[in-house]
């Protein structure tokens, strides 16, 4: 462990020098590391070995959720990782805003910062880099996936606000609600004094930044594989690197296992994903990507994003399975035009209840179970 500490201090020293040099020599440029840190590689040289209870090869039991890994729920966590939060209140800025132009007076340096490692840097969806000089302690997350990830890596106690529709884990019901991404109660947000606001839409970001609220804007991921990366990112931001790595590794292992179980499948069923009134999702969406992973053939292969699918094309492409989200399935028993669909004839129109609809829609740790449920519906013979 002492060797780890010395490595860390070397890193910290390099980081500080780098930042000072950058800050003094190039005032108009934001701090950019030579190679922008992709969200995948941990920026901290901390040990990437997962917590002992999280064996990567182990698949989660169907009944247990990944969020019930030992890191969660917990009281005030010890600062296990170097990037972890320290309770000392320092006047140091904890965050470098995601603006390409630096604040007057040059780039701030983490000289007084208690974190002795190069700060995590995240590139947001506008291409700006966001540097975390200090792990955020008061997070407002306007995204269910981020909420679930924070709880799952043991940082749920830092959540001071979330959107109105957050419902999982149950603890989130005690977290103050601040509207949603489209109808944000900015006053309420300001009152919560967050040191990080996470959002998937950037409409109100200028307003929030003007109020001095640090914003991290990342669009929702459109691939399943991006979720473990998001979890690792949250690990680096919050300092819960080990827990995040454990969870991410477990998810990746479960994806790999799913792939293995589907290895014998040559051609998956033709599937139609119905969000109601024939609204469906193309392959470039998150749901579309789930079907790719599950080797099912999304009949809306030529749809980009979301679209209302034509009933004629639905009949023409004849889905073998219909996955209908909450409330969308009733039309299949009602419309004579759909009576000839293979899915209808073979009784394979699956209506997801509210919980299952959420489970396959939130791009968080529970997607492992969402995928499993979908696999069960698509391949009843392989997943009894």
């Amino acid at each position: 462990m002492s060797r780890g500490r010395s490595t860390l201090s070397v890193f910290a020293a390099v980081g500080i020098v780098l930042l000072v040099v950058l800050g003094c020599t190039a005032p108009p440029t934001p701090t950019r590391t030579p190679t922008p840190v992709p969200t995948g590689t941990p920026a901290l040289p901390a040990s990437p070995t997962p917590a002992p209870t999280l064996k990567p090869g182990e698949t989660p039991k169907p009944t247990s959720t990944p969020t019930s890994v030992p890191t969660w729920p917990s009281g005030p966590r010890p600062t296990a990782t170097p990037g972890g939060p320290t309770p000392t209140a320092t006047p140091t800025p904890s965050f470098r805003p995601a603006t390409p132009t630096p604040t007057p007076g040059g780039t701030r340096t983490p000289l007084g910062s208690p974190t002795p490692a190069p700060p995590p840097i995240v590139t947001d969806s506008n291409g700006n880099t966001v540097t975390f000089l200090k792990a955020p302690r008061r997070i407002v997350a306007l995204d269910s996936a981020a909420v679930e990830i924070l709880y799952a890596i043991g940082a749920g106690d830092r959540l001071v606000g979330t959107h109105d529709f957050a419902s999982y884990p149950p603890e989130v019901s005690d977290v103050p609600k601040v509207g949603d991404s489209f109808n944000l109660n900015v006053e309420k947000v300001a009152e919560l004094e967050p040191d990080l606001l996470y959002t998937m839409f950037d409409m109100q970001n200028p307003q929030l930044e003007a109020l001095g609220i640090p914003v991290l804007y990342l669009k929702s991921p459109t691939t399943v594989e991006a979720i473990p990366e998001r979890i690792r990112m949250w690990g680096r931001i919050t300092g819960e690197v080990e827990a995040a790595e454990g969870l991410a590794g477990m998810m990746e292992a479960s994806f790999a296992e799913l792939e293995e179980r589907l290895a014998s499948v040559e051609r998956g069923p033709r599937v139609f994903h119905d969000l109601g009134d024939f609204w469906t999702t193309g392959p470039d969406t998150f749901q579309g990507d789930m079907y790719r992973l599950l080797k099912a053939e999304n009949i809306a292969y030529d749809v980009s994003g979301w679209a209302q699918f034509s009933a004629e094309v639905l009949v023409e492409r004849d889905p073998e399975v219909v996955i209908a989200t909450f409330g969308a399935a009733t039309v299949y028993g009602d419309n004579p035009a759909l009576a000839g669909l293979s899915a209808v004839k073979n009784d394979r129109v699956y209506s997801l209840d509210v919980d299952l609809t959420t489970l396959i829609s939130v791009e968080g740790p529970r997607i492992v179970h969402g995928l499993e449920e979908l696999a069960r519906l698509l391949y009843p013979e392989l997943f009894p």
Partner: protein, 362 residues
């Protein structure tokens, strides 16, 4: 408030027609030709789509449905489903709805003597929108013991809104039309506010709702055709019967009374009939803008102001236009669909502007 009133000068063609009711020849030829064109447009729309059905196959598939014809099916089974269960119902439905909206629009314009009047003027659209929204944001209400509640809720919402506006506006034995418009606008504003509130507070996918509000025939079935057919046919015939009265109502109410019109009864009947017809149309199609406003004006610009020919020609133009608009809506974007309300406004507005421009030169 800037509500335009709109009267014929004695010299204008409509004014003449309104007073001089002697030399009116019913435009049979124009009507028959128009109806034939609508049928042809309907057949074209039935053949064109994401799957193109050639005319011969189209004829065979249609003929094979006749009880005494026996044709071996030489076409894919999916064609039969697509044509018979998807395309034809929506073509017929688009025609009926276009007819209903255009005739109701013409009636409202005549009744309120207001060129800006459309069938949604006194709250039908907002009420129907609210009814549909309530159902769509509570999936438990969508199907009650197997019955699709959406059209029913939209229909009831429309009637409720109009009734509220009517109840507020009615004074003693009379019904001041300006008050009715204002009451309708206020009721519509309230209903729209509640609709928006429900949309914004509903979690989280409002796309189906939005596409309903913009109108479309994607869920159209023969059953819907059968449900709305009596309302629309009956409403159409009743409004047609009041063509001459509508002409006279273009005069001041006092003058119309002296010419033998029971003005109050005509107003009441026309409002009830036009609202019912519109509500029936809206319940199966959602809120399709523009048709009810523009079709009657196009007819006026092309063929004059006499309501006895204006009403049937509006029906023809409205039906044909909406069938074509629906054709565009379902073929414009690959395997997806557009809300037809977008198409009616986007394609209809330039055509109407052209007509306006042309008529000014005349």
């Amino acid at each position: 408030m800037g509500i335009l009133t709109w009267r014929r000068d004695a010299g204008a063609p409509g004014g003449e027609a309104a007073v001089r009711t002697v030399a009116f020849a019913y435009p049979w030829r124009r009507l028959v030709v128009g109806a034939l064109v609508v049928v042809l447009v309907g057949l074209l729309a039935a053949g064109v789509g994401s799957v193109r059905i050639p005319p011969v196959a189209l004829g065979k598939i249609l003929a094979s449905r006749l009880p005494w014809v026996n044709i071996d099916a030489s076409w894919p089974a999916s064609w039969d489903t697509i044509l018979w269960n998807i395309r034809l119902p929506r073509v017929v439905l688009a025609g009926l709805v276009g007819l209903a909206l255009a005739v109701s629009g013409a009636t409202y314009q005549g009744l309120f003597r207001n060129p800006l009047a459309d069938p949604y003027l006194i709250g039908v659209a907002a009420g129907a929108g609210l009814g549909a929204t309530v159902v769509l944001v509570t999936p438990a209400l969508h199907f009650v013991s197997g019955v699709n509640m959406l059209p029913i809720a939209a229909f009831l919402g429309a009637l409720l809104a109009v009734t509220a506006a009517y109840g507020v506006a009615r004074r003693g034995g009379g019904l001041p039309l300006t008050t009715l418009i204002l009451a309708g606008v206020a009721v519509a504003a309230m209903a729209s506010a509640v609709t928006s509130l429900l949309m914004i507070r509903s979690n989280p996918d409002v796309r189906p709702l939005l596409s309903w509000l913009l109108g479309g025939f994607g869920r159209g079935q023969w059953r819907d055709v059968l449900v709305v057919l009596p309302y629309i046919v009956l409403g159409f015939l009743l409004m047609m019967a009041y063509g001459r009265t509508l002409n006279l109502l273009q005069l001041e109410e006092e003058e119309a009374k002296q010419l033998g019109v029971n003005v109050e009864r005509a107003k009441l009947l026309l409002i009830v009939v036009a609202s019912l017809t519109t509500a029936a149309a809206v319940s199966v199609s959602g809120l399709i803008g523009f048709v009810g406003l523009i079709a009657p004006h196009a007819v006026r610009l092309l063929w004059g102001y006499d309501y006895r020919s204006l009403l049937p020609m509006s029906a023809v133009i409205g039906a044909g236009f909406l069938i074509l608009a629906d054709l565009v809506a379902r073929t414009a974007v690959g395997s997806g669909e557009l809300p037809v309300g977008i198409v009616t406004a986007f394609c209809g507005a330039p055509f109407f502007l052209y007509l306006l421009r042309r008529s000014r030169r005349m």
